[in-house]
């Protein structure tokens, strides 16, 4: 009974043996949650694997996975692993061109696609990359008349698999046995904040080791529930959904559609939740908008109890002493009247542990969730390290750090301030790029993260920015653009911000308004507007944004190292920054350099002392056509605060 459980296919068979009747996957289909048990999943995977084998998929072949989180897409991943192949999940919202790069880079011959939209993209790629021989689709809608060679439904693939399995039942088990833990389990593409995306090859051993550490760290067990809604191409989804579910045997819930995630969240009530800061931010923005629109009684109640929560909520969560009885009672009452119902509406009532990572989270945002009793913690990591480098243990959560290194992970700070990591969870290599691999992994086996950070006195790691983005103003003040941008983005009215200042005499910023928040703000004030650009040009909106910036400046003035990097001049952009135009990465991080180039007239105007700037920008519509939008943007001056005075006051 001690067969090694060191590859994902073996783990699957193990789960099917240990808990055959426990739910493994759920998906909401036609309004009803459908459940598959572990035994059923093992059976499905067997059919898919046999089908793929019959189609000529074998060891070393790569299977692209394109689509939203669907059980069959996850099963295709493991079916590929059974056959010794490598699944390569792709970002499903990438346009065909971006996808083509990855398909060629990973030399993909087989693909599983969710629906017609993805099939169309793959067929387009096939024109340039004929090696892509076979495409399987999950949802047949609209594909009835596609007669391309090598295109078939997963349903047909299963049928082929059934035939194939019938001929030799030992085939499947034999294939599972052949897999080695040192084999590559998956190739995950980095989002490409800088340059072209790189394929990160991770072995079974690395992923399984990391997932085991995680499962032990938070005591995850078969009774847990997770909603998988983040892109399958992202390492977090692979680790938290796919890897953990195979280790701990809990249930993975697939939302009905990307638009229903908030509903599904509420219906499933996950116990373990991971989301990048952006999602928490969106949830909070939604809550705030709805509260602003609520009746005065509810609004007053909300604000009163949120005040209580802000004062004592986090101490209560961390079981710290020193909370007066009256406040405890108030908090109880708040739980009954506000926090409880709020968590219920958001689908967060059953949450035991919630994580965020990928980007720094705004302190106020972080406090909000913790103060209403959600154990939100931060972690630090990247695709190359299987995410997990540092995590915050429960009870030792700090706002501005990402926690201690995880068991088995060594973290070292280079002289340049760069964070270096060595762990069993490190990637094997960048796919097909020995040069890049050598650059990232040094002779001692440390991975160079490219992030700048340091350890605080308690041994917690603090990340300030990307090492290459941290700069200095002309007067020598430290300039950490992301730090400033995050501060700005915490305001619900600001969707995106880009700060400039390295080597300059002052800090200036480009700001994107949040259409949902400002739209509703404008409606309440009876401000008429015709669309995004119009709204962004309104003087009232400018005043609002300027106030936000001045608040950030005041907070910065109290900081001794960053105090001089207050934002002096800014302008509100007339269009939203968009991933389709390369201004954001697919995970929606701003590409500062690209933006600086694209909007160079604006940046020059910010530094030249002009009061406004005329701009014409090319935009790409969703149907692929391009057009131009133009606007006369006003440059705003923000008040700054005296650093010394602020420190004296503090």
């Amino acid at each position: 009974m001690t067969e090694p459980r060191d590859t994902f296919p073996r783990l699957l068979l193990h789960q099917a043996k240990v808990r055959p009747h426990r739910p493994a996957f759920r998906e909401k289909d036609l309004g009803i949650w459908q459940t598959w048990t572990w035994a059923q999943v093992a059976d499905e995977v067997r059919l898919l694997a046999c089908g793929l084998a019959a189609q000529g998929f074998g060891r070393g072949d790569r299977l692209a996975i394109v689509g939203d989180n669907r059980p069959r897409l996850y099963w295709s991943m493991i079916a590929a692993q059974v056959l010794g192949g490598v699944p390569v999940p792709l970002y499903q919202d990438a346009v065909a061109d971006e996808m083509a790069f990855v398909v060629q880079d990973a030399e993909i011959g087989f693909a599983v696609a969710e629906d017609q939209e993805q099939v169309d993209k793959l067929l387009e790629i096939q024109q340039r990359w004929p090696l892509l021989k076979r495409i399987y689709f999950d949802d047949p809608r609209g594909l009835r008349h596609y007669a391309q060679d090598g295109l078939m439904s997963i349903e047909s693939l299963r049928a082929i698999g059934r035939d194939y399995a019938g001929r030799g039942p030992e085939f499947f088990l034999g294939e599972v046995e052949k897999a080695r833990s040192s084999d590559i389990a998956v190739i995950l593409y980095t989002s490409g904040t800088t340059g072209k995306p790189k394929g990160v090859s991770q072995t079974h051993a690395a992923m399984i080791h990391t997932a085991r550490v995680l499962v032990a760290f938070d005591g995850i067990a078969e009774g847990d529930d997770l909603l998988c809604y983040l892109p399958m191409a992202w390492v977090g989804d692979f680790l938290y959904s796919y890897a953990q579910v195979h280790i701990a045997g809990f249930c993975l819930n697939c939302p009905e559609s990307p638009g229903t995630v908030m509903n599904d969240l509420r219906e499933i009530g996950p116990t373990y939740f991971f989301a990048p800061p952006r999602i928490y931010e969106n949830i909070l923005t939604q809550v705030m908008i709805r509260i602003e629109d609520a009746g005065w009684a509810k609004r007053r109640m909300f604000h009163y109890f949120m005040g209580v929560a802000k004062r004592v909520g986090m101490k209560i969560l961390e079981r710290k002493p020193g909370v007066p009885l009256t406040d405890r009672l108030r908090y109880r009452l708040g739980e009954l009247l506000v926090y409880g119902p709020l968590k219920n509406v958001l689908g967060l009532s059953r949450i035991r542990v919630a994580y965020t990572g990928g980007e720094a989270i705004g302190p106020d945002l972080f406090d909000f969730y913790r103060s209403i009793g959600i154990n939100l913690k931060q972690l630090y990591g990247m695709t190359e390290t299987c995410v997990t480098v540092c995590m915050q243990p429960s009870g030792e959560v700090k706002l501005d750090t990402v926690g201690r290194p995880m068991p088995g992970v060594e973290v070292r700070i280079a002289d340049s301030g760069e964070v270096l990591v060595r762990s069993p969870g490190l990637m094997k290599e960048y796919h097909g790029r020995p040069e890049a691999t050598r650059e990232a992994l040094d002779a001692e086996g440390f991975f160079h993260t490219g992030d700048a950070g340091y350890f605080d006195p308690d041994g917690h790691l603090k990340i300030i920015d990307r090492a290459k983005d941290v700069g200095r103003l002309a007067d020598g003040t430290l300039f950490a653009p992301k730090y400033l941008e995050n501060k700005l983005k915490f305001f619900p009215y600001i969707k995106e911000a880009v700060c400039f200042g390295d080597g300059r005499d002052k800090v200036c910023a480009l700001v994107n308004i949040d259409m949902a928040a400002i739209g509703s703000w404008a409606e309440r004030r009876n401000l008429a507007y015709s669309g995004y650009a119009d709204l962004a040009l309104q003087p009232a909106v400018h005043d609002l944004i300027r106030e936000c910036v001045e608040k950030v400046n005041r907070a910065l003035a109290a900081d001794s190292t960053l105090g001089n990097s207050q934002i002096r001049r800014l302008l509100v952009l007339h269009k939203e920054l968009d991933a389709d135009e390369g201004e954001l990465t697919r995970t929606r991080k701003v590409r500062r350099r690209h933006i600086a180039e694209k909007y160079s007239p604006l940046v020059d105007a910010l530094y030249s002392g002009k009061t406004s700037c005329y701009v014409e920008t090319q935009v790409r519509f969703e149907d692929g056509r391009t057009g131009t939008v133009s606007a006369d943007l006003k440059i705003l001056e923000a008040r700054t605060y005296d650093v010394a005075a602020a420190r004296r006051a503090a």
């Binding site: 289909d29 036609l30 309004g31 809608r141 609209g142 008349h145 559609s257 509903n263 969703e622």
Partner: protein, 262 residues
């Protein structure tokens, strides 16, 4: 698109129909046919009689002269509910949904025709009534899935933007599983993206369910892309009938749309 679609014989024949309201002539001797599984467009300038034509087909108006033959049965007078029972569904130019009800409930009303249990059985929700409700719900969910409106299933219709309301209206019409679907300006007031979505849905409905579709539309590019054949009305008279290419090059049509110097 349409590689595997087989267009059959006529499902609907409009023969010499004339309709007048007092002295105002809405339709004058209009004849055309609609074949099974085709997408047939009716176009024309404002006040040409397009909506009147649809209203004649599904029995809202009764023409003074002429007849309508649906599935081989020639009829002179038919009421809207009879038309619906025979398999004619429709959507309206100005949305006609129950604004206070959820999307799901609105679409469920599309199944009313096919509910066999009486009011009392439904109220008790027992036995046959329960089975029936579940069956209908499954059908409705299939439509919701088809039109990709899962995210608004429980949202009151009044809170939805216009484009989505139009889609819900289409969903309700589809829930009745019509053989002939009349769409009155399904894309009026939509932006480009919404129009593209709606066009795709119309093609998919036609393709997947084999539903015959008659639609009125102003956007000429949409009409040209979607329809197999086009009828052009002007001042209540038919001035052209044929494929989009034929109609586009027809001199009368160009005159009617662009105007002629008299």
């Amino acid at each position: 698109m349409g590689a595997g679609r087989k267009i059959g014989g006529p499902i609907l024949e409009v023969d010499d129909v004339s309709l007048a309201f007092g002295g105002v002539v809405a339709l004058k001797s209009v004849s055309f046919d609609v074949r099974r599984r085709e997408i047939r467009a009716i176009i024309g300038p404002n006040g040409a009689g397009k909506s009147s034509m649809l209203n004649v087909i599904n029995g809202v108006y009764h023409p003074q002269r002429g007849s309508v033959t649906f599935k081989g049965a020639r009829r002179h007078r038919v009421d809207p509910h009879e038309a619906a029972e025979q398999g004619i569904g429709r959507t309206f130019q100005n949305i006609a949904l129950f604004r206070g009800m959820t999307v799901l409930d609105n679409i469920m009303t599309g199944r009313n025709l096919r509910m066999k249990c009486n009011f009392l059985q439904q109220a008790l929700y027992w036995g046959a009534a329960q089975r029936e409700e579940l069956e209908h719900r499954a059908k409705v969910e299939a439509v919701i899935d088809f039109l990709e409106i899962q995210h608004i299933r429980k949202t009151p219709v009044g809170r939805l933007p216009y484009g989505l309301q139009k889609r819900v209206e289409l969903a309700r019409a589809l829930a009745a599983e019509p053989e002939l679907l009349l769409l009155d300006e399904p894309m009026a007031g939509m932006n480009l993206e919404e129009k593209q979505d709606m066009s795709r849905f119309i093609l998919d409905v036609n393709d997947q369910f084999g539903t015959t579709i008659v639609l009125i539309e102003h956007d000429m590019s949409v009409v040209m892309d979607l329809s197999d054949r086009v009828v052009v009305l002007d001042y209540g008279r038919k001035i052209a009938d044929g494929t989009p290419e034929e109609v586009r090059s027809n001199k009368d049509v160009i005159d009617a749309y662009l105007g002629v110097a008299h």
